[in-house]
Symmetry: C2
Subunit: 717 residues, 2 copies
């Protein structure tokens, strides 16, 4: 160290620093690396650009090619006379700069060594060498070759230590040098055990922490064990995905005050005259609720249909008719149209590959994949195009669930795992464009990517693997990064888990799993108005309220469900459906549990009826509402035309009109005897709500013609 | 019989018939016998009248005196020449005629015998003689001497069969004659086995039936075994009481169309100037509810107090003060007054005898006994006097029970047994004056009866016997008949069974056992008005009704019960009295079960509150009302002054004001929030009734001064 001090004093000037990397291919990893260099004003020379890579698959041993490219470069370099020449070498595809070169060199100089390699906890690729390390018990004992810094003369001596084949392993080469005690000591080679400069992520995930909630403008990475803030991060090996996640924040990608910095860096303004051709690929792989609305959403996409190649693949027989109807009605509006029917015996992965390959092989510039579960806003396609990202999905979430169309992380077996920021992204408590390991259901891809040789293995097809998982895995292998945007609301996912096409009108059963779509179709359009304006409360009889609850369509379909079932009770006092077996005031009816609508109806009570109740019967809270008697009543002149005066066993009763007086029937209505007040001018979808007992002795008035249907619940009995 | 036919033809004339009986004493039995003869125009000669009876106690062997008196009479009789002389002999005290002499003789002549004795199922008094009877297996095989009919010559021969002592048994005498085969056959003596004429009741109770519901005007007796209607009935031995019961109907005592014929036969019009002196004897033997009203009823007796000797015996320390107060205030108004205190250590029977003996030994003409349980109308005494009966009770019944102040029958051990007509008398579905074996609590006695030697054993005192039972038994032994009248409503009995003087205001606990008295004192005087006039329903807020329920006195005493108990809850959410241990909206209160008023209050709910509910909340029936939360609330400025908005866990809630705003407190009241309507001008004893849930969110308004008390029930939770 004494000698070094003298040497230091030889030069007044700052040392000359050269930053080198190797990248034979331009890919998203290199793009990210260079962006991080740019952010910190670091000038990087990329070695091997345009050359053929001979270093093997980066997931395994290999990389000797990197050593030879570096050796060639350093050998050719002229050593300045008045100052030291320092070389910083890093990998590129899996590395990011987290600070400026000044900071890096300052730290290096403070360490008073001639060469500093990054360090890691695994002795790789030859773990038997561990015992030759001078101290293998300390933190990160072993050499990693993804990053090193040192003086040019010493580095030249290292590179000339031995001959290395392009396919030999670079890390093994440098390890052998380091383990040679003569070399190590004479060249003063050291390892950055404490990640003062270099942070290798593999095996260190619990050592590092992303700090985004400090007073600093930019999120940073801290090694909580050594208290260092590393300046270069290396997502070595399987930690590549961790780096992808960190890259959403680090290197000034995210601003604590302004949010997503990355979002605007590639933004394109679409030229209306030169809109790119898009292949819209629609996939219907399982029976899916609310398909009517799905087709409407396709038609509503804000993009010239003449710029769209339509591709529809339907794998579900149940949907064939509506697909057929849609296709026949609209395919001609598109630039081209292609269809795979459920009867075509094409598998999902195959179908998806067909779409991709059709796009690759055509004038198509983008492939927009859209599954039947995805429900997007009309402007989604334009938005995705304008981001400038190659592979990007709009965030879509199942209403009321955490289930979305992306994964924040992937576990060791390649399956879904939740990232720390997953819920923040799903909930949009942070908004941006996010590098993620998996997307599906709806995404846009720049098809040019797939025309490159590096993407030749990209496919949806992999044995025993879900097509989406296979596809995303192949994208990751090809170094193609996927993004999900939650910059805005783009739509949602429907849930087909409980969709039972053996039911009549199965969509009406979906109030629990697809609340949003269900509301849209089945809730009365004016349902919410009463909450905005208390003056709108209607009271046709004392303490009897009247609300718009359900849509006309609901009423029609609900009746259809009952009539399809058809087993109306016989109107006698003996009723086997009841625990007691006895009903004092029988109606001709069908109970909701007979048609499998009981839990759905209870959800309707909880989500739509209860808020109305709380609005008008102040101070009464009973959540969830309890109701065992939920049934549709049918009144007919020749069957049971009326209901005698009675009380209901309820705290409050709801009475939903399902059809229309004077149109569907004559007579009918509900009379409240103590108030001598009748409600006869009922409207379908409108709900009467009245106390069940004591005050509201009531009767069902005589139906003289036609059929009257009402839906009744005795709430909180 | 051939010979008899010849003899019959000897005379053209009807036979001469002489009816004889023996009665040395004029008593109620004889009176009844003679009345029955009179009713059927039968001329009876009573032998032995005024003579000293030497025939012994009629319950045992004896009666030879009767034979000798008859023998003397028949021996002295002149036998008519132109016709047969027939003799009909019967007992008197236990016999009644049920038909005319013509009918009797006609039946006798049809039987073609010379002498006919009545027959019975017991061989008495010497059962060893049974084997000497010609046929002891037939119905009523044995001779009874209480009645016989025969020709004078044959009877003379019979009477001369042997000498008989006055103390010898008459029945044994005639039996010996009958068992002498010579006598039996030569004199053609026969027994009335089939009760063609004579019906002995002992051992035949299931053979006979009183028929009062035929088309005939007069009830009659039928022997259902032999299909005969006997013409003379003999209540021999223990059947005396059965005869007493039958005598209420037979011998035209009861008219199917006009009812009680006997009632008017002795009726007296009281001479206002010569009203008899009455000793009013009051007995307080057990702690008795509603004594205040008892003393009022005594003062209200419609009779000049100067004609009354007042005698008050109090055996109950608890009542001493009020007796003292009454005595001090009123004794001087009476002609004389005498008092026995609870401290005088006089037993009940002794006390009752003292009263009787004081009356006997004074100028008193009637003894009117009145127990603390008896509550009589003011005119009862005058009515009893006017009946002309010697011993007569007004029918008094416990309200709502079958328990009365008389017994319809007595079983073999001398205790209460129900007669066939007991309930009809109690319910007054038949009205009259009824010969019964037991009366108590309130009765009038003609004291002259007790001055006769035959009554010298009459007493309330008999070891191990209830004084009333002892007394009535001794009356029955003395041949003194007791009557109960139900001609009108005379009052009722209070029930002291559950009267618990350890309670504060114990009378208020008596709503179940003494409903009538309780209502009188505690029910609001206008309670019943709302039922007459629906216009009177008050509704201070929507569906909140307002009724007068309780008297001012109720309110005062109810508060006193609570404050005497004093353990008001602490107003916190933790309440050990509740099953859940938790009360969300606590008040400072005392629950009815804490002061032993729970079942009483439930009765009030059922009997007084429920009818109001049914009146106003049409169609709601819930009987009995269920209520687990019944409590008095106390509001005070420095304790708990108000109650936050809430619902009650009830179908309907009742809220009874117990004291008076602006007098007892300032502020307070109940506000119904949804209707923005308050009830503040509450009146003590007035009840608010309102739905508990949903519509009637309510709060207890702030009490700013004094103490407000209310009684609350959550009915049908
Ligand atoms: O006919 C009506 O509207 C009344 C029906 C009703 O009260 C019931 O089903 O309980
Ligand atoms: O203070 C009042 O009148 C209301 C009392 C009340 O609502 C209750 O006790 O539940
Ligand atoms: Fe109803
Ligand atoms: Fe309340
Ligand atoms: Mn490597
Ligand atoms: Mn690397
Ligand atoms: Mn006798
Ligand atoms: Mn007798």
């Amino acid at each position: 160290s004494n000698r070094y001090c003298v040497e230091r004093n030889v030069f007044d000037e700052e040392p000359d620093v050269k930053v080198l990397t190797v990248a034979t291919e331009k890919n998203h990893g290199l793009e990210r690396f260079l962006r991080s260099a740019r952010v910190y004003n670091i000038n990087v020379e990329v070695l091997g650009e345009g050359k053929k890579w001979e270093g093997g698959d980066m997931k395994h041993e290999g990389g000797g090619h990197k050593v030879n490219l570096l050796k060639e470069k350093l050998t050719s370099m002229k050593i300045p006379e008045d100052r030291d020449q320092i070389i910083l070498f890093t990998d590129s595809y899996d590395v990011m700069f987290l600070g400026s070169l000044d900071e890096i060199v300052k730290k290096f100089l403070e360490m008073s060594v001639r060469v500093l390699f990054s360090a890691e906890p695994f002795c790789w690729p030859d773990s038997s060498l561990a015992s030759q390390y001078p101290d293998s018990q300390q933190l990160n004992p072993f050499l990693n070759s993804g990053g090193f810094i040192g003086y040019l003369p010493e580095l030249l001596k290292i590179l000339n230590f031995d001959i290395v084949g392009n396919k030999d392993d670079d890390q093994l080469f440098y390890t052998r040098v380091y383990l040679d005690e003569d070399y190590r000591e004479s060249l003063r080679i050291s390892l950055d055990h404490k990640s003062v400069i270099f942070q290798n992520l593999h095996g260190a995930l619990s050592d590092v922490q992303l700090v985004a909630n400090s007073t600093e403008e930019w999120p940073y990475l801290v090694n909580v064990v050594t208290k260092q803030r590393p300046l270069i991060v290396h997502g070595n090996g399987p930690a590549k995905l961790t780096l992808n996640n960190l890259s959403n924040y680090l290197a000034k990608s995210w601003s604590v005050s302004d949010g997503c910095v990355l979002c605007d860096e590639k933004r394109i303004v679409l030229d209306e005259d030169k809109l790119p051709k898009v292949m819209l690929s629609v996939f219907i792989e399982v029976a899916t609720p609310f398909m009517e609305e799905f087709f409407q959403s396709i038609l509503a996409i804000d993009y010239p249909k003449q710029k769209i190649h339509l591709f529809i693949r339907n794998g579900v027989e149940y949907h064939e008719t509506e697909v057929e109807n849609f296709y026949n009605a609209h395919s001609s509006e598109y630039f081209t149209a292609k269809r795979i029917k459920s009867t075509d015996l094409v598998g999902e992965a195959e179908a998806r590959n067909i779409a991709k390959d059709r796009c690759i092989g055509s004038d198509c510039e983008y492939l927009f994949c859209l599954d039947s579960h995805a429900r997007v806003e009309p402007d989604t396609l334009r938005y995705l195009l304008s981001t400038g990202y190659d592979v990007i999905a709009p965030l879509l979430v199942r209403s009321g669930q955490a289930w979305s169309n992306f994964w924040g992380a992937i576990n060791s077996v390649g399956f879904y795992s939740r990232s720390a920021d997953y819920m923040d992204i799903v909930n949009r408590s942070i908004e941006g464009i996010w590098n993620v390991p998996f997307i599906n259901n709806c995404y846009l891809m720049n098809i040019a990517l797939f025309r490159k040789p590096s993407a030749k293995h990209v496919s949806y097809l992999k044995e025993d693997t879900d097509p989406d998982m296979a596809f995303c895995a192949s994208l990751r292998s090809a170094g193609i990064m996927m993004y999900v945007s939650n910059e805005k609301e783009f739509g949602h996912l429907v849930n087909s888990e409980t969709f039972d096409v053996s039911r009549t009108n199965p969509d009406i059963y979906q109030v629990i799993d697809n609340k949003l779509d269900w509301e849209q179709r089945y809730l009365h359009p004016k349902y919410y108005e009463v909450f905005d304006n208390k003056e709108k409360q209607l009271m046709p009889c004392p303490d009897v309220y009247w609300f718009p609850l359900m849509s006309m369509r609901f009423c029609k379909e609900w009746i259809e469900v009952m009539e399809a079932f058809g087993q109306w009770s016989d109107g006698s006092n003996n009723d086997k459906r009841l625990e007691s077996g006895y009903e004092a005031v029988p109606t001709r009816d069908i109970h909701m549990n007979q048609v499998g609508l009981d839990i759905q109806w209870l959800r309707i009570l909880k989500d739509y009826v209860r808020p109305l109740q709380e609005l008008v019967f102040t101070g009464y809270y009973h959540n969830p509402p309890v109701s065992v008697m939920n049934f549709v009543v049918r009144y007919r002149p020749d069957e049971q035309p009326s209901l005698r005066p009675h009380h209901d066993s309820s705290t409050y009763t709801i009475n939903l009109a399902l059809n229309t007086p004077h149109l569907d029937y004559e007579g009918g209505g509900c009379r409240f005897i103590r108030y001598n007040c009748s409600v006869k001018d009922t409207k379908p979808g409108w709900l009467l709500m009245h106390p069940g007992r004591l005050t509201h002795f009531h009767e069902g008035l005589l139906v003289t013609k036609g059929t009257r249907y009402i839906m009744i619940s005795f709430v909180d009995p």
